[in-house]
């Protein structure tokens, strides 16, 4: 965990996203991303229309996050962002986004509450929210090599079990969420929106590798 306790403030979050941290900030408190990085942002807590509560004393609103993402885009700090939010009226938080390549998923519509899943009687508080719980339940069934797409994840959302209507915003996202196949795939293959959006694009830290077959003949005298 890089930011915890009193360090979790709206200002630190915006500074982290936009990269405007103080010069002495250590490496693990910086977002060292570039134009090839995919970023996953997950927010949860108490919230409402266009805001989310931080630390019982301040709020972050959707305009701030939208502006921060636009600045990240200008400075090429991301390739794609997956923004997931689980609060009351969560869908309003991403309604103000305007930066490209952002896929947003929220737990409830405007005017709806999000509910917690399990109330632990020993602690006396709820330990997880329903939307988050059903997301994690889906992830428990996949592993690192899976070819599941975001469309698969979204299709498992059950409004009755979750208790609210999850929303997805795809108009800013260039790629299709489901796997494309057949003729459509061949046609799209040359464009950036060619393939579907796999879960491993955002989860699981899967890297791109290339085999190195021959060592460079360093130090060998030329014949």
């Amino acid at each position: 965990v890089d930011y915890r306790g009193y360090e979790v403030t709206v200002e630190n979050f915006i500074r982290l996203l936009t990269g405007r941290v103080e010069a002495h900030t250590p490496r693990n408190k910086r977002l060292l991303s570039d134009d090839k990085s995919n970023i996953f942002i997950y927010m949860t807590g108490h919230g409402g229309e266009d805001f989310l509560k931080f630390q019982d004393s301040e709020e972050i609103n959707s305009y701030d996050i939208a502006d921060a993402m636009q600045q990240m885009w200008e400075k090429k700090r991301y390739r794609e962002i997956l923004f997931m939010i689980d609060t009351c009226q969560a869908n309003t938080m991403f309604s103000k986004f305007y930066a490209p390549n952002v896929l947003s998923i929220g737990s409830s519509r405007k005017g709806e509450n999000s509910y917690s899943h399990y109330h632990d009687r020993d602690i006396g508080a709820s330990v997880i929210d329903r939307f988050t719980y059903y997301n994690l339940e889906f992830f428990e069934s996949v592993d690192l090599s899976s070819k599941h797409t975001m469309a698969d994840l979204i299709s498992t959302y059950n409004t009755t079990l979750i208790g609210s209507h999850p929303g997805v915003r795809t108009d800013l996202f260039a790629r299709k969420l489901e796997e494309v196949s057949g003729k459509e795939a061949v046609a799209l293959l040359r464009s950036p929106s060619g393939r579907g959006t796999y879960l491993t694009d955002f989860f699981g830290a899967v890297q791109r590798v290339e085999l190195t077959n021959e060592p460079f003949p360093i130090g060998r005298k030329r014949a």
Binding site: R20, P26, R27, G204, I218, R220
Partner: protein
């Protein structure tokens, strides 16, 4: 009740006539003086609550457009037995330029234009980036180019061919290829310093051997020359460590007859273990990690191959196994697998000597070169059979720079790629900064930001000046590179300055909520009094405004 009687008396009294004090002179002065203070205070409040914004040179920043081409000259010095005359040199230059124009792909909309240009001169080349020596050998069996590791090439011209044509074509192909590379996306992002960490990762020293390596000697012999060669462009800070008990990697290798193997699909998850401490203490420099992984003895020898190769590899000896033993991880670094000699028993101490390390250093250098964007077609791509019929050049051989790891041609290619990319990024950063400052009127712009922007602009203009001066005997590529790097550093420092966090969004309701408790209790009686003044003025003419 007494209370009831008193209430009735109170209510009855409200209908009695009351004394009303008129808005006489002194009262009017009192009211209007409060209004006057408010009027004086308004501009004072406006100026004191305004944020400090230094004026940024918007025009100078927007004067850079993608359509203005950046011209990169490449000067070829021709060295032949019969010296080249100036007229011949000019003729070759012109025919090369025509060939380059035909090979140039059209510029996309909004693409930052770069034009590589060839110049041909007789005589010897100075030892500087951008100057290349071409030696012409006539009377050969076939025409071809042998590229040397320093900035030179030997062009063999067949008996039947014309030296000028072969020369022009060779030059055109080199320059056109360079332009294509510079317009593309090859190299790693520029940073003034890279933290290159080499790690010897021993999976299991208990069931395996205790491994150590002569890393300092190996680095001095094999890596330092590369670091020194790239020094003018970027600093590669080398550090090394040995990690014991690395633990098994997140992917378990598959077993074949007497080896274990990883398939290429398993590789993307290899570098994922939380117990491998590959952190860096430097907060800013980007990292490149090169890991030499020693598997536990039970899993050795380990290679990377696919299922068919594994099935066929049953009785082969360790040296001739198919597949490979290293892979590059994009944006992160690379991994090589070290298999210990066959007779090693658990608990043995094994030291990888400098000679044993030569192969692994070679693998790491290949991966490092790939990260730096050095590709196999610098400066000329090897001939394909389909091309041979159309071109005057039949064969191409490129000598690898085995002493330093990067040849003069490759160094120049890297320099030009980074120069162009840095200049572009500096300009777009400054333009984004202007857009940001304009769109957020509430944001403070300090003087030091303006200073950084001015210096960045000066450095950008210096690049153009340095590259444009043709009359100088040496091209100023290194100076231009330094200016571009400086411009980028300053532009990014200005953009990412911690004071540039915008004031948080204030909805109008918040602004009302802050100002109302101050002004409303004063404003309401004031406005009511002013209303009464005007009402009285309208009722009575001016003569009755006498104080009493």
């Amino acid at each position: 009740m007494a209370l009831g009687a008193r209430l009735r008396a109170l209510l009855a009294r409200s209908s009695e006539p009351r004394t009303v004090i008129s808005m006489h002179g002194e009262r009017q002065v009192a009211v209007l003086s409060i209004a006057l203070f408010l009027l004086i205070g308004l501009p004072l409040w406006w100026t004191t609550t305004r944020v400090y914004r230094a004026a940024l040179p918007a025009d100078a920043i927007h004067a850079f457009t993608p359509a203005d081409p950046l011209r990169l000259p490449l000067v070829f010095h021709v060295d032949a037995d019969a010296p080249l005359s100036a007229a011949d040199a000019l003729a070759v230059e012109q025919s090369a330029q025509i060939l380059i124009e035909t090979q140039r792909a059209p510029f996309a909309d909004g693409e930052w234009r770069v034009r590589c240009e060839a110049a041909v001169r007789p005589g010897a080349a100075p030892d500087a980036p951008g100057h290349y020596t071409l030696r012409i050998l006539t009377g050969a069996a076939s025409s071809g180019v042998r590229v040397g590791a320093d900035r030179s090439a030997a062009i063999s011209v067949a008996q039947a061919a014309s030296p000028r044509a072969v020369l022009a074509e060779a030059i055109a192909e080199i320059v056109a290829g360079e332009e294509r590379r510079v317009r593309g996306q090859g190299a790693l992002k520029y940073a003034p310093e890279y933290a290159v960490t080499l790690t010897l990762l021993n999976e299991d020293p208990v069931e395996g051997a205790v491994v150590d390596w002569d890393i300092e000697q190996a680095l001095a012999a094999y890596m330092q020359p590369l670091v020194r060669a790239v020094q003018p462009l970027a600093k590669l800070a080398l550090s090394s460590q040995v990690l014991y008990h690395g633990g098994p990697p997140p992917v378990t290798p598959l077993k074949a007859d007497n080896l274990t193997y990883l398939t290429p699909d398993m590789l993307p998850h290899f570098v994922n273990s939380p117990s491998w401490n590959l952190a860096s203490v430097d907060p800013i420099s980007p990292m490149l990690n090169f890991v030499l992984f020693v598997p536990t003895l039970a899993a050795q020898p380990m290679r990377i191959m696919d299922e068919d190769q594994a099935a066929r590899s049953g009785r082969k000896s360790a040296g001739s196994l198919p597949g490979s033993d290293a892979f590059l991880v994009s944006q992160w670094g690379g991994v090589a697998i070290a298999n210990l000699p066959k007779g090693t028993r658990p608990g043995d101490r094994v030291v990888l000597s400098q000679d044993a390390m030569q192969r692994y250093m070679g693998l790491f250098i290949t991966q490092l070169r790939q990260h730096l964007g050095v590709r196999s077609d610098i400066p000329l791509a090897p001939r394909r059979k389909s091309q041979a019929a159309k071109s005057a050049i039949d064969w191409v051989r490129v000598d690898l720079a085995t002493d330093s790891g990067i040849s003069g041609w490759e160094f120049d290619a890297l320099l030009r790629q980074w120069l162009v990319r840095n200049r572009q990024t500096a300009i777009t950063t400054l333009q984004s900064l202007m857009r940001l400052v304009d769109s957020l009127q509430n944001m403070v712009v300090m003087d030091e930001i303006k200073d950084q922007v001015d210096r960045s602009l000066r450095a950008l203009h210096e690049i153009d000046d340095t590259l444009a001066s043709r009359s100088a005997p040496r091209l100023g590529y290194l100076d231009a590179f330094t200016s571009a790097a400086t411009a980028l550093g300053l532009a990014e420092a200005a953009f990412f300055d911690p004071t540039m966090v915008s004031m948080l969004y204030f909805p109008d309701q918040h602004k009302f909520a802050i100002y109302m408790p101050f002004f409303l209790p004063v404003a309401v009686p004031l406005l009511a009094a002013i209303k009464k003044i005007f009402a009285e003025r309208r009722r009575k003419p001016a003569s009755s405004k006498k104080s009493d």
